[in-house]
Structure formats: C-alpha cells, structure tokens
C-alpha cells in the first residue's frame, strides 16, 4: 500500500486549522451537558465530610457512635477505614505518589494539619441528616501551635508538622526534622565569576500569595460499590485513570474492578488532578451498600483543595552595559501546604528558561506549613519564579535605557541555546513572539498619566505521555472517536479535526466522546499541556491502521497488488492501469461493505507520546491606576504565543485569553487571607476576588506558529504558558504607571494605595 498525505479532505481543504463548531457546544449552552454534580443513581445516599476547625492539632479520639445511631445515617468512616500506607514514592499510573501523605490528606490520621482537613465522613438518606450526623461526631483534639508563612515555617523553632520530615537534598543529612522537605538546585557555569563581569546587577526579593485555580465547578463524586468488589465512579476530574489508580490503592481494590467515568468538567487548571472525595465516596458506598454522592461546597473547595504555592523569591541578575545577561541567581521558597510536594522544582528550571545565560544558579526549597496541600495550577511553579525574573529584567532595561523588547530579544533563547536547565533547545518561538508584539499597534499606542505599559515573556516545557484513543467507522460511514483524557479546553474539537483530515471524512461526521476507564487502555491525565498534543499523535496512529486495513481490503476486492492501491484524500485509490478498471472507494463506501470484507473497521492508537515542544509567549498589557482608591484597571491586553500549529485556532486563542485572565487575578487581587488563628478568612468568591468579565478588556491573541518537528502536525501544548507572563507584565506596567516597583503580589487596591501614599503620590 502506498500512503500519501492523508491530511486533507477530498476537496483538498483541511479541517485542521479552521474554526469548526465545537462538538460539545450545543449541550453546554443548552444545559444538557452533565457535570459532576448532575449524576444520580437510584437509592443514592448523600455524603458529607467533617472537617477540622483547627489549623494544627493532634487527634486524641474520634467517637462516631452517636452519629451512627442517628436514623437515616447509613455509614460513617474515619481513619480506621483506610489502611495506612508506607512512606515511599510509588509509581501510580505515570505519577510518583507518596501514599503515606495521600491517605492522610484524604482523611486525617494522627493530626489535622490545616483548617478544613477531612476528619470523618458520613452517608445518610438526606443532606439534612448528614449534616446533623456530622455534629454528633465527637472529636477530641489537642491543639498545637501552627505556622502559615513559608519563611516562618523554615525557622528552626517553627511548629513542626511532621516528626519524620528530614530535608532531602542537603549534605550532611540533617539530624533533626524540619518543615523543609527538600532543597533542589540547578546550576551551570560559575555564577560568582559571571557576576564579576557584570556592569549592572539588580537584586530583589519578591513575595507571591497562594492562589486557587478557581474552577467554577466544585469537586463532586458519585460512587457505587457492588458486593462482588466491582466499583463504578463518576467524578469531575482531569484524569479518571489516575483517580482509578489512587482509589484502588487507597482502598485495596483491583484496578480492573474500578470503572471511572469522567463527567463534563467545569474547569480544573491542574486542581482536579488529585483525589479528595472519590475514595471517601467509594468507602462510604462499600460500608452502606448503597450509592453515595458527594459534592463540595465552595467553602470546602477553598479550604480543603489545593491552591498553588505562595512563595518568597530572591532574584539576582547581572548584565553588561550593552544589555547582555551574564549571570543569574535565584532562591525560591515555595509553600507546599500540609504535605511535601510544591512545584518548586519546575520553578527552578523555568526561572531563566527564556534567556541565553552562561552562568545560572537557582536554589529551591519545598516547605510545608498549616495550609491545604497545594495542587497543580497551570504551569506549576513557573509563574512565580518567572514573575520575579521578568520584573528584574524590566528594571535592568530601564536602568540601561534599553527598550524592554530589545533587551529580551538580545538575550532570548533560540534554537541551539543551552537552556538554563541543561539541554539545548530545538526550534522554539520566543523571538517570534517578541517580534509579533513589537509589530502590534498596541505597542506604540499613546498612554496618559497614571497609565502604564508592561511586557513580559514566559516559558513552559509541555509534556507528552501515555495516550490511547480509538476510531471506529460506523455502518453509515460516520466515525466514532473515543479519547481517554477529559476535554477541558477543546480536545474533542481538535481531535475530531485531525481524524477528519486523516480519514478524509467531513468534520461533522466525526463524533468525539470521552471514554471511561473500561473502554480504552491507560491514559495519563489532562495536564502538562499534553492532551491535544498527545491525543492528535494517537489519532494519526489509529487512522494509519484504518487506512492500511482499507487498502488491504481494496487490494482483495480489486485483486490488486499492494503497490497498486493508495490512500489519499479520503479514498483508497487504484493506481496505474488498475485505475482504468475500478473506481476509488471512500471510507463511507467501505463502511457499507465492512461486514462482507472482514468485519468492523477501526483503529486504536496506543502511544507514549514523546517530542513535546516547549512553548514561549510574550504578553503586553496597558493598565491605569486610580490614585484615589489604588484600584487598577486593565485597559488593553495582547498575547503572542507559539502554538507550533493551532489545530483549532479559536480554542487556542481561548487558552491564551484564559491564562491571561487568571494571571490578571493572580497579579492584582487573588490571595488566601489567614487570621492569627490560622483560619482562612476569605473562603468564598465574594471575598476571594477573581476577575469577572467586566474586569477585563477583550484580550487580543496572536497565534505564532513555529512548527514542532516532532509532531506530525507541528503541534505544541498551549494551555499552560499563557499564565506565566501576566504577573511580570502587569507588575512592569504598574511600575510604568506609578514609578513604584511592586515586589509583592497581589497588587491589590489597599497595597497600591499605601504605596502611593508612602511616595506622596496619593492625596487621599
């Protein structure tokens, strides 16, 4: 069989790269789409969680007898219902997990480590009874001193969260436990020698607040456990195979007996890559012998699910008079929450990734404190460290009187640059994004007093990973596409476009769905900007199988040799003299005779996708500061980012815009506010101020396309990089508007007003 380029329709047009109608759009705008809390089963119970009122306390005893005696209560679970897990990092699917921590985060064992930490759970016939039951559970606590701030948690005399936590990564190994779980570093060259060659050195310390992913849909799970040990679970998650692995491990179940369906997901942004309610719902169902449904309140989401780290970051960057960066140092201290595992490692690797610098040294600390365990949030760790670096880059540009884009261009990483974290880059598009921004009308638009303009760049690695998809040609020639990674930002539309082009069938004849864990082989989760990248590679593999099968069938039908048929533009075509005798057959033609030529037609793509290309972006923002209130208004915003190849441009633009908006919130308003009692004071959207539509202008998105040579369509992941540059870009614009270098996020109105008053710039 000869296979020519199958990436097009019979009419020569491509679906990839066009703005097709979204396959999930109608159900979402009509309310038919079923999210986590929309699923119900006959006879289901309602599960609720009892949470710690203390930020740090030893659990002396838990008495559930009164709750269990309450009519309508069918099950109560505590730490006693989960076997303890050893302290070792174990592969779970593709992740490394320390299940000793996981089991303690799901339900506290010896201690509660943050306000909101789950202590017990009940299943009852109604929400009201479940709530009453929680009040009847008697927990005796011995309260302990707590620590919230990352720097305070690092002090030798800080309240200790874990008696067995000894800092990894330092020599000699510590003799005493501490709250510092890990010290990591990346190093190349000789930074001390490098700084000696610098004409200018800028060194500053920055602080960022922990921020929540802010997904609009709260965590929700519905579980039913059968007497034969088989379990079904419906949950809102970014990775149902990962949920399956965690639940099986925590509850001692066979993976094959746990079937997990990912519901439609109302946002995740990394925060739905872990388990909270799922093992509780299964454990309650196992005990009650009835289905159990659990849904978090917004307060629970804030108090008990992972935000990303707050951090303290010290940056030191040296440059020559001409603007060449010669040496760079940074020290990152990231909050992990109650258990180790902050994103400080990627923070160290990303800090200077956009730049070509010979001497780089970045040190990071992973620090536990009495907060909820952090979870991934878009480009985990990168926005924090790159914000600090981009602020210092801006300051150097001003001190050297060099245009900030020129300065970045002079130092920009490009193909062949040795990345700060080691290897050389392949083809990348940072310079192209800088040029794209410089060419905008926005870059030269006039500004008024109290208005400022800022620019910043950002980087994220992107990943691939294990992926399995299937394509099935139906009897009428339509195609069923099944993927195993939840669709958060356009997966179904993107994969359907690739399948349509590969098979040469109309886009609206391809119906994409997300299969459950029993329907496909293992899929790593939707994260790392991998799902469209990896999924489209797997679709190409599945389509190859179909095309080879159809060519083989045609060869038999036409009594032709393999080199007398080829698949192109949606048809198996006879070649040479054979073309005079038989007509080409489309996929739909074969569908009609599938049964008579060998049976159902389909392909399964099973890959461990490699070759993810990094994505760089540059953001440009205009803002205005009100000197009377300290309020900042975003006036104009432009994003330029390298997508490699945009499979569905509108969805890619949506990723750019969404990342920018979340970055705006991170920069200007969002923060966890704790009282002296260690309790979260703003666990709701009224007090935790996220941007809403009226807070932001329309965000212009520029698609830069520097093809990734390792992907059949040139695709790079796009979902994470857009949240990296906004923090620095906005801080730089604030400096331009006010003359004040803000080094602490969020730059909320009270802070801005105080800074203006301190400088004599506000007369209020």
């Amino acid at each position: 069989m000869a296979e020519t380029n199958g990436h097009s329709q019979a009419n020569g047009q491509h679906v990839v790269g066009t703005r097709t109608v979204r396959p999930d759009g109608v159900d979402k705008v009509t309310g038919r789409a079923r999210f986590g809390a929309d699923f119900n089963l006959p006879g289901q119970l309602i599960g609720r969680v009892l949470r710690s009122p203390h930020p740090h306390a030893r659990i002396v005893s838990i008495d559930t007898s009164k709750a269990e005696a309450l009519p309508g209560v069918k099950a109560v679970i505590t730490r006693a219902d989960f076997a303890d897990q050893p302290s070792e990092f174990i592969p779970a699917g593709e992740m490394m997990m320390n299940y000793k921590d996981v089991v303690r985060n799901v339900l506290a064992r010896e201690k509660v480590l943050y306000e909101g930490h789950a202590v017990a759970a009940v299943a009852a016939t109604s929400t009201a009874i479940a709530r009453r039951a929680l009040k009847l559970i008697e927990v005796k606590y011995e309260t302990l001193p707590h620590v919230i701030d990352v720097v305070e948690a690092m002090r030798p005399d800080a309240p200790l969260l874990h008696d067995d936590l000894f800092t990894v990564g330092v020599e000699p190994k510590p003799e005493r436990p501490s709250n510092i779980a890990k010290r990591v570093e990346i190093k190349q060259g000789d930074v001390e020698a490098g700084f000696k060659t610098a004409d200018i050195i800028v060194e500053r310390e920055f602080k960022t607040a922990p921020v929540h992913q802010g997904y609009i849909e709260p965590h929700a799970a519905l579980a039913t456990f059968s007497e034969d040990g088989s379990t079904e679970l419906w949950t809102t998650t970014q990775g149902h195979y990962i949920v399956r692995a965690h639940c099986a491990r925590l509850l001692g179940l066979d993976i094959g007996k746990v079937r997990v369906t990912a519901t439609e997901i109302g946002g995740g942004f990394g925060g739905k890559t872990v388990v909270y309610l799922e093992p509780l719902a299964i454990a309650l169902s196992r005990k009650a012998k009835r289905p159990v449904k659990m849904v978090m309140s917004r307060e629970e989401v804030f108090k008990a699910s992972g935000p990303t780290s707050g951090a303290t970051v010290r940056v030191k960057l040296g440059a020559t008079k001409s603007g060449k960066f010669v040496a760079a140092f940074a020290e990152l201290k990231y909050q992990a929450g109650a258990f180790q595992g902050s994103p400080v490692q990627p923070g160290t690797m990303c800090a200077y990734a956009p730049y070509d610098i010979e001497h780089v040294h970045v040190i990071g600390y992973d620090v536990v404190s009495n907060r909820p365990k952090v979870a991934a949030y878009r480009a985990p760790g990168a926005p924090i460290s790159e914000y600090a670096v981009e602020s210092v880059v801006d300051e150097i540009a001003k001190k050297l009187d060099i245009d900030p884009i020129d300065l970045r261009m002079q130092n920009a990483a490009h193909e062949g640059t040795k990345a700060a974290y080691g290897p050389k880059f392949g083809p990348i598009g940072l310079e192209e994004t800088l040029n794209a921004i410089r060419k905008t009308e926005h870059w030269n638009a006039p500004l008024r007093k109290w208005q400022g303009r800022g620019v910043a760049s950002g980087f994220w690695f992107n990943i691939g990973g294990e992926t399995c998809v299937s394509l099935t040609v139906n009897e009428d020639g339509t195609v069923s596409l099944m993927a195993g990674t939840p669709d958060i930002g356009g997966l179904r539309a993107s994969l359907a476009a690739v399948a349509a082009d590969e098979l040469g069938v109309p886009y609206d004849k391809v119906r994409p769905i997300i299969g459950d864990t029993g329907s496909l082989g293992f899929n790593f989760l939707t994260g790392g900007s991998r799902s469209a990248f990896s999924g489209s590679m797997a679709i190409v593999e599945a389509a190859k199988q179909i095309k080879a099968d159809l060519c083989a069938r045609a060869g038999k039908l036409w009594e032709a040799k393999p080199d007398q048929v080829e698949f192109s533009e949606g048809h198996v075509r006879p070649l040479g003299a054979l073309a005079e005798k038989v007509k080409p057959m489309s996929v739909a033609d074969f569908a009609k005779v599938a049964g008579k030529t060998g049976g159902p037609i389909g392909g399964v793509g099973r890959i461990n996708a490699q070759g993810a290309g990094p994505s760089f972006g540059t953001h440009l923002v205009d803002l205005e500061v009100d000197p009377e209130t300290g309020r900042t208004t975003i006036l104009r915003y432009t994003v330029a980012q390298d997508a490699g190849r945009a499979l569905h441009p509108a969805y890619v633009e949506g990723q750019y815009q969404g990342g920018a908006v979340q970055g705006i919130g991170w920069a200007l308003n969002e923060e966890y506010v704790y009282g002296a009692d260690g309790k979260l004071q703003n666990a709701g959207f009224l007090d935790y101020r996220m941007p809403v539509a009226s807070d932001v202008p329309m965000i212009d998105a520029i698609l830069v396309e520097v093809a990734n040579p390792k992907h059949p369509y040139g695709v790079r992941g796009v979902g994470e990089t857009p949240i990296v540059p906004p923090l620095g870009a906005i801080a730089n614009a604030m400096e331009a508007a006010t003359g004040i270098r803000f080094t602490e996020l969020p730059m909320s109105p009270p802070k801005v007003l105080k800074a203006l008053k301190d400088k004599g710039l506000s007369k209020v």
Binding site: V184, I186, T273, G422, P423, Q610, K710
Partner: protein
C-alpha cells in the same frame, strides 16, 4: 560514547560527579550503566527522571535510542499538571 550530564540533585547520588561518558545505545542501557557505577542513583532512575537526548526531552521511554555522539541530560521528571497531591 555519549556524554551524560546530571542536572539538579542527582549528582548528590554520584559523589558530586555530574558528567559521564557512557557507551549506551538506549536509555535503558544508560540507566543500567549509571546504576552499576553508582547504586544509590538506581532508585531515582527507576522512580522517574526525564532524559534529554540531543535537546529533545523524553519521559518514561526506556527504549529511546542514544547515538554514540549524543549529549544526554538527566533532569527531574516534568510532571506538568500532575503534581503530588
């Protein structure tokens, strides 16, 4: 011989040595040879590191070929949205 460079904390498991010349033709062979030289690093290689071969990062890909003149970096695993809970 491929030039193998350890990034981050891995060198703490090799007595501070950060560079090796290894005659490995796959990632699996590279891990075996490095593990034989420094047994303490074995566990970390098994747990998961990213391998950059001539600039291209691979994860969980033991059979990936390595050319004799390749430059290989061993990096911390890049997890993206998949962090420890």
């Amino acid at each position: 011989m491929a030039r193998v460079v350890l990034i981050g904390n891995l060198a703490q498991l090799t007595g501070g040595v950060t560079e090796f010349q290894l005659a490995a033709s796959t990632v699996k062979q590279l891990f075996e040879q490095l593990g034989a030289l420094h047994p303490e690093i074995r566990r970390h290689l098994e747990d998961g590191v990213a391998v950059a071969i001539d600039g291209q990062i691979y994860q969980d890909s033991l059979l990936e070929p390595i050319a004799p003149d390749s430059e290989v970096f061993l990096l911390p695993q890049i997890a993206g949205g998949a962090m420890l809970p």
